[in-house]
Symmetry: C2
DNA sequence: GTGAAAGCGCTAACAG
DNA sequence: CTGTTAGCGCTTTCAC
C-alpha cells in the first residue's frame, strides 16, 4: 500500500538505518492508517529478543496474582512487557507443567521467565534466564526467591503456644514444595522447643488448596479430642478451616484458633480476620523481576534471595477453651 | 535422533493418521527423553488455532487480577490455556494499548481475547472473537460484560444520604471509561432524587488510581467546608482517601465517611474496612470466558451481559459529625 | 507410511 | 536507498 517491499516496512518499523526520509514518512503514514502492529509471534520467531518477560504459573490464584502485582509494578519503566501464562493442568499431570510451559515459550516468545512454585527441579539448560519463586527445592541450580518459611512457621506456632495451646494441628501444604516442608519443620521446631510432643495424627496434608484440604480438615475437627488450634500452611486452606469450623458449630477463636501463612488480601477480611504469617509477596515479585533482568544483562549478583516474614496477629487466635 | 523427518515427528506429536505404530513409539520415546515440547510460537504461526485464550490488561492490579481469578477458574476443564498480556504503557500513550496488544497477539498467538477496561472502541474487524470487560463505551459492537454501575453508585450514595450526609463528594474514575461515567451518573441521580444540589466543586477526577487521586483528594479534604462523605469511583482510590484522611488527622467514619466500588479483597481489611459496592468480579471473569468460548464455537447468545451489584456496608460509613 | 517442499509473518544479509 | 532472498520451527499438502 505504501508501494514498498515488506523488507523496507520492517526497516522503517524497527528504525533501521538506510531508509529515505520520504519513504519512511509514507510508510509510517500507512502504518498509522491501517493500525498495523507487527505480529509478536512472527517477530519472535525471527529475532533473538522480544522484550517480553514470561511469568509461568499453574493457575491464577491469590498467591500468584499477588506476585504478579509486584512484578507488574516493578516492570514499569523497564521497557519490558509481561506475559503471564497458565498452561493446562486439568487433563494431564499436575506436575511438570513448568517444564512444558518453559519449553513452549522460552527461546522464542519470552526473553526470560519467572516460574511460580515449580513442582520439580528446573533443568539448568533452559535457553533463557529463569528465576523460580517458592521453588520445589532449595537454592541449588536455578536462582530463586523465597521467604523465611521456617522462621515464619515457628513464630506462628510459638504464638499459639504462648496463648496456651498444646494440641496444635498442622494442615500441611504441597509435599512437592520446599516451602511446605520448611513450614512443617518450623511447626515441629516450635513444638519441640516448648517440650510438646509432636502428634503425627495432628499433621495432615492440605495441599495449599481448599478443595484438597476439605477432607483432612474435617477429619481433624470431627474428633472428640480435636486440637484447640490449627496452623495451616497457607491462607487459602486456613480460610477453609474457618469455614469448616463454622459449619461444625465451632467458634473461632473461642473454640478453635487458626493461623495461616502468606497474608493474601483475602485473609484481611475473612470471618474472623485471619492471624497469619506475612510474606512480602509484592516485594518478592519485584525482586524476582530484578533478578531476572540482572541475569539478562549479565549483572546478576545473588543467586538466591530469602526475604523475612512477619507474624500478623488478627482475630482468629485466642487462648484455648477452658 | 529418532531417525525420522521433522514432518513425521509433527504427525506423531499431533496424533495424525498414517504413521506406523513402531515409528510412533520410537518418536514418542525420544520426545520423552528430550523433554521436547513444540514451540508455541512456531506452531501458532503455522496453525490457525492455538487453544490459547488471551487476556489483555493494561497492568496487573487488583481489579484485573480478580477477573483473572474468575477466568482462570472457569477455563479449567475446557482444554484452553490462558495467556495474560500486559503491553507497555509507560513510555508510550496511556490510551490505545488494547488495539496494539490485540493486533500483536490476535490471529496468531491467541484464538480469542478478553480485553479488560479498553480505553477505546475496539475495531470490529479483529481477526478473532473479542469480549470486553468494563468497556470504554456502551454495548455496541464488541460483546461486553459489565455490572450495573449506575444502580450500584446510586445505592452507595443513597446509603450516605440515609445516614444524614448532605455534602457528599465524588472522586471520579477514568473519564475514558463508561463505568466512570455511569458511576457519576448514579451519584447525581441519588443526590437529585433527594433534592440535594450537585456541587461541581465536590466532583473530582481520581482516575481509578491512588497516584492520580492524591492531589484531588487533598484539595477535597483540605478545605474548611470539606465534605462529610466521599464516594470514590473504585476501591483503590477509596483506600487512598482513607490514607489521606488519616494523614490529615480526620477519623473515618466519625469525621468522614468513605464508600468505594468494586469490593476487591484489599477493601475487606482496610483500616477501617471499606463500605463498598460489590461487583461480582470472579463471575464477570467467568462469564467473559464463557462468552468468548461461545463466540469461538458459534453458539453465542447475548451480546452484552450486565451483572447486578450489591452494597456492602462495613465500617467506613457513619452519620456525619455533629 | 514416510519425507520433501511450501509457507505462516517477519527480519537480516546481501545484491543491486 | 531499496528489494530479493533465506530462514526462524512448525504443520500440511503431495509425491513417492
Amino acid at each position: 500500500m505504501a508501494g514498498v517491499s515488506v523488507a523496507t516496512v520492517s526497516k522503517v518499523v524497527n528504525n533501521r538505518y538506510g531508509v529515505a526520509a520520504g519513504t519512511s514518512e509514507r510508510v509510517l503514514a500507512v502504518v498509522e492508517e491501517l493500525g498495523y502492529e507487527s505480529s509478536l509471534v512472527a517477530r519472535s520467531l525471527r529475532r533473538t529478543s522480544t522484550n517480553v518477560i514470561g511469568v509461568l504459573v499453574a493457575e491464577f490464584e491469590p498467591y500468584s496474582t499477588e506476585l504478579l502485582k509486584g512484578i507488574s509494578a516493578a516492570v514499569d519503566g523497564t521497557g519490558y512487557e509481561l506475559l503471564a501464562y497458565a498452561g493446562r493442568t486439568d487433563g494431564g499431570a499436575q506436575t511438570g507443567w513448568e517444564r512444558r510451559s518453559l519449553s513452549r515459550l522460552a527461546g522464542t516468545l519470552v526473553d526470560a521467565a519467572i516460574v511460580v512454585t515449580p513442582t520439580m527441579v528446573l533443568s539448568s539448560d533452559s535457553p533463557v534466564p529463569v528465576v523460580a519463586v517458592d521453588p520445589h527445592t532449595g537454592p541449588e541450580g536455578t536462582p530463586t526467591v523465597d521467604s523465611d518459611n521456617t522462621t515464619g512457621a515457628r513464630e506462628a506456632v510459638e504464638h499459639l503456644i504462648d496463648l496456651g495451646h498444646r494440641r496444635i494441628a498442622h494442615l500441611g501444604g504441597r509435599p512437592d514444595l520446599e516451602s511446605a516442608r520448611l513450614r512443617e519443620l518450623g511447626y515441629r521446631q516450635a513444638l519441640e522447643g516448648s517440650g510438646i510432643a509432636v502428634d503425627p495424627l495432628l499433621i495432615k496434608v492440605g495441599g495449599y488448596r481448599p478443595d484438597l484440604a476439605d477432607a483432612p480438615v474435617r477429619t481433624l475437627l470431627d474428633r472428640p479430642d480435636r486440637p484447640t488450634a490449627v496452623f495451616a500452611a497457607n491462607d487459602l486452606s486456613a480460610i477453609h478451616v474457618l469455614q469448616v469450623a463454622q459449619e461444625l458449630g465451632l467458634r473461632v477463636p473461642q473454640d478453635l484458633s487458626v493461623v495461616g501463612f502468606d497474608n493474601i488480601p483475602e485473609s484481611w477480611g475473612s470471618a474472623p480476620p485471619l492471624t497469619t504469617v506475612a510474606q512480602p509477596l509484592h516485594r518478592m515479585g519485584a525482586e524476582a523481576l530484578r533478578m531476572v533482568l540482572d541475569l539478562l544483562e549479565g549483572t546478576a549478583r545473588e543467586r538466591h534471595l530469602r526475604l523475612p516474614t512477619s507474624l500478623v496477629v488478627r482475630a482468629s487466635t485466642a487462648p484455648p477453651p477452658r
